[in-house]
Amino acid sequence: MTTQLFNLLTVAPEAALTLGAVLVLLIGTSKDVRPWTLKALTAFTLAMTAAALTKQALVLPDAVTSAGYGGMVTLDSTSILWVGLLYVVAILAFVMSWEFVEDHQTKAPEIVALMMLATAGFMFMVSAGHFMMLFLGLEVGSISLYILTALGSPSKDSDEAAMKYFLMGSMASAILLYGIALIYTGTGDLSYGGVFNSFNTALEAPGLILSGPFAGHATGVPLVAVVGIALLLVGLLFKVTAAPFHFWAPDVYQGAPGRMVGFIAAAAKVAGFAAILRMVQFPLFPVFGKVQTPLVAVATVSVILGTLYAIRQDDVRRMLAYSGIAHAGFMLIGVSVGFIDVTTGNSGFPGTMFYLGTYSVTLVLTFGLLAVVSGDGRASIEQFRGLGRSSPVLAGSISIFMLSMSGMPLTSGFVGKFAVFSTAWVAGFHFVVVISLVMSVAAFFFYLRLIVAMYFEEGDATVSMALNQKVVVLAGVVMTIFLGTYPGPTIDFIIEALKL
């Protein structure tokens, strides 16, 4: 690993986005600016970010892992996947919610800048090599999301959602920060590598406690660090809406402006899961056995609770919030298999990453499509009646995304679930897998409700989609079916990036 004080390449995408956000704020707020300037600036920034990502990817094979800014940020084949996924989520969100930006003429630059900053923050979070960086990235991203949630103001729903999100999110961040502090107390280090080494030493060459009631016992991993790990994970599990830390999600998804919620939901989920996976892969790897059982428990509770509550919902965004809790559970099953089982070589990571990638893209696009129908207000099922006739492209795409989320074969959702369940089965979580399969069937009940409303019920809803929205949605549909029928190369690619 090469550690440098200044290595601009390691933060190139984040830097491009941040600079873009600054430019947007500087130029865009002027009253003389024409509407297309903002569009051009956004496109320019996204193009620069893409260029930065490409450069990183091209350099990567030479410098296997490089760390910049004294190890604060790392660039390796896994982090680049996460940053890339966040970039895809952001670009889809920009396309799907551009009308929202244009409708808020005076606020438009702020919205664009906040989306860019949120993305940059989360990118820092997933490529961090140090716990402080993790926290800073998380806060930059989260605070941007709180404000984006409040953009529907003065609607009561939006105000309430933003307030709830802010209060609970700050609480979760505080818990996470406290966890980091305790980990520091237990290990004396905050860089991922230092924490890893400290845990490894404690486990491999345990010393003996010299005095006190436990004199003569092996020291092992200090209890304070274990508590710290637990609090750290609680903070991250909050971000990915795992039960029982999910209470904010339904209100936020329902109350946030409909055209913005796809970004709010997907970006937080990707960042949270990427951070959890990175923790499990690197700093917490030696002590993973201690968190495995709690993770499985959280996963199972999330799957059951998310599915059962989703069945009862009449608001589509609320329903997708609960289904997202169940999805968090499915992915956590993959996480709890662990990075690698040294004896069998079984890894839960490729399946989980495939799942997360396909799910987050589906989520952004689905919320975008829902907003095409219901705008920023509540999205009740009745609004979708008859769309199968009047808007076949929109209804067909929503149906395919719903089927993918439900895990129907021939869609990427099935491959993700299948990959996660197969490794979980080998890891011995038979009971959890069977429960999850049964819950997947129960989930058909609510995923199909939307299809029923669009195709089977009479209605006169009509909507129109912008051309660029149609293009990205159809690209998403093609990817969903392609990855559902021929996922081999993609999974290979992920395995290679993980160096398994």
């Binding site: 490729p350 074969p409 099935f414 369940f421 197969s422 089965w425 069977v434 997947s440 058909f444």
Partner: protein
């Protein structure tokens, strides 16, 4: 490997569905004729397959390409004597079910496309030789059928569509966990994942307890699909609410996905458990035979009557499979084809009756033979075939099943045979109430007879019913090498069956 005939067979309906989807919007009448013409392609392919098929036990025309190497998922297709007849049945029934939909006014393009998607999925189920690929097709056929029932069904269609979907998906969840177990066992024995049928057959050793659990996990999925008593409750709802094309394909082909799965997977992969539990399954099958027939007798609704007759007939097929005898298994496959042709035809007739009179109540009909003699004649012909009149298609299959099951499960054969008598009761009594006598209601005098186009739809059915009734050897020669091999394998690798 030269020409990938089986992949082409699956691709042909998919391409056809896309073509139908791109037909001009302002010419909705084009959908049905174009769909019929395009669905003739699979018929031709299957006909070629039928002639090129060698009468040997192992699977032929095998072709494969790895899809997910990390998990051992292959695109692996092959055909043997168990699947060939069912592929043939599918290819024959699809054009007919498209043809019978010519009076659908609501978005016929989408309906035809859905039927063609369904055809591709059903081919896939019968041809897949990789467990995951099989599962994918097994689940995928739910979607088009769900739409067919939900969009073009009668008043209670949404309830029926969801019930159909959830019932089948529920069973599949347990099967998928069973499939995962088998793949993981393969990983444990050989060190790599594989869901290949032959790999699992050859390398996976199961403990007795695991085999029993797996047997039931698979059997539950297939029993719901068949449907075996007491998992049949979705079937009357789905059949009655489905449009005619849906009923034809549901009864004709989709129920056979279950019986096919029982032979291909339960018997071969879990032979000891199959023998251990053959009695329990046979009891359920016999209950299904008698119960289905008894309920059919008292049905006031003619479509429901045909639906319950399917429960009864499918009971025979399951009984044949679990008799663990050569004639029972061969008869079961043959009867699968026969039932598909006969019941498919009956559903088509019921659909035509509904088009003419807008009712399915038997009491509303009466004396229809006067204004519609040909319709009545075809109904009577198919009823006789369904009852099992010698010389017609229903006879050889049921006869083989009864002979076979009498050897190992005599009590089941004896009770099951009453199903044949009950079939005569419900079908002929229904014929009598619907067609004979003087027309009681004025509308019944004005019922149109079959039009020329409708007659044409029944010609292939009648010809096949006669041919298979008189010369069942045509199919049995292809079926028997495969079913014999399966039954011999089951009997030789286990203890406890005496033929």
């Amino acid at each position: 490997m030269d020409f990938p005939i089986l992949s082409v067979l699956i691709a042909a309906p998919l391409v056809a569905a896309v073509i139908v989807g791109f037909l001009p919007k302002n010419r909705p009448n084009l959908a049905v004729p174009v769909g019929m013409a395009l669905s003739a392609v699979p018929v031709g392919l299957v006909a070629w397959l039928f002639t090129a098929f060698e009468n040997i036990g192992p699977a032929q025309f095998s072709e494969g390409k790895v899809l997910i190497p990390q998990l051992g998922v292959w695109w692996h297709l092959a055909v043997d004597g168990v699947s060939l007849p069912l592929v043939l049945l599918t290819a024959v029934l699809v054009p007919l079910s498209i043809g019978i939909s010519s009076r659908v006014s609501d978005n016929p393009k989408l309906l035809v496309a859905m039927i063609l998607f369904l055809e591709a999925g059903m081919f896939g189920v019968f041809l897949a030789f990789n467990l995951i690929l099989f599962f994918v097709f097994f689940e995928a056929v739910l979607i088009p059928m769900y739409f067919i029932i939900g969009i073009w069904g009668s008043e209670n269609r949404i309830y029926a569509a969801i019930k159909f979907f959830l019932f089948t998906a529920f069973g599949s969840a347990f099967m998928l966990s069973g499939i995962l177990y088998l793949g993981a066992q393969h990983l444990a024995t050989t060190g790599f994942w594989s869901f290949e049928y032959s790999d699992i057959f050859n390398s996976v050793e199961l403990s007795a307890g695991a085999e029993a659990w797996l047997f039931w996990a698979f059997a539950l999925a297939f029993a719901i699909k068949v449907p075996l008593f007491p998992f049949h409750t979705w079937l009357p709802d789905a059949h009655v609410q489905a449009p005619t094309a849906g009923s034809v394909l549901l009864a004709g082909v989709m129920l056979k996905l279950g019986t096919y799965g029982l032979i291909r997977y339960n018997l071969v992969l879990f032979p000891q458990a199959s023998v251990d539990y053959m009695g329990i399954v046979a009891v359920l099958a016999v209950i299904g035979i008698v119960y289905g027939a008894a309920v059919a007798i008292v049905q006031p609704d003619i479509k429901k009557l045909v639906a319950y007759s399917s429960v009864s007939h499918l009971g025979f097929i399951v009984l044949g499979i679990f008799s663990m005898t050569r004639s029972g298994a061969a008869g079961a496959v043959l009867q699968g084809v026969n039932h598909g042709l006969i019941t498919g035809g009956l559903f088509m007739l019921v659909g035509l009756l509904y088009e003419r009179r807008h009712t399915k109540k038997i009491a509303d009909f009466g004396g229809l033979a006067k204004p519609a003699p040909i319709l009545a004649g075809v109904f009577l012909f198919l009823s006789f075939a369904s009852v099992g009149l010698p010389g017609l298609a229903g006879f050889p299959g049921e006869f083989l099943i009864l002979i076979g099951s009498f050897g190992t499960l005599p009590w089941a054969a004896v009770i099951g045979a009453t199903g044949v008598i009950l079939a005569a009761v419900y079908l002929l009594w229904a014929y009598q109430r619907v067609f004979t006598g003087e027309p009681t209601v004025e509308e019944n005098r004005a019922v149109r007879d079959l039009s020329a186009g409708e007659k044409l739809l029944f010609v292939p059915l009648i010809v096949l019913v006669l041919v298979l009734g008189l010369f069942p050897r045509i199919l049995l020669d292809k079926i028997e090498p495969s079913t014999d091999a399966i039954v011999e394998y089951v009997v030789s690798s286990t203890s406890g069956v005496s033929e």
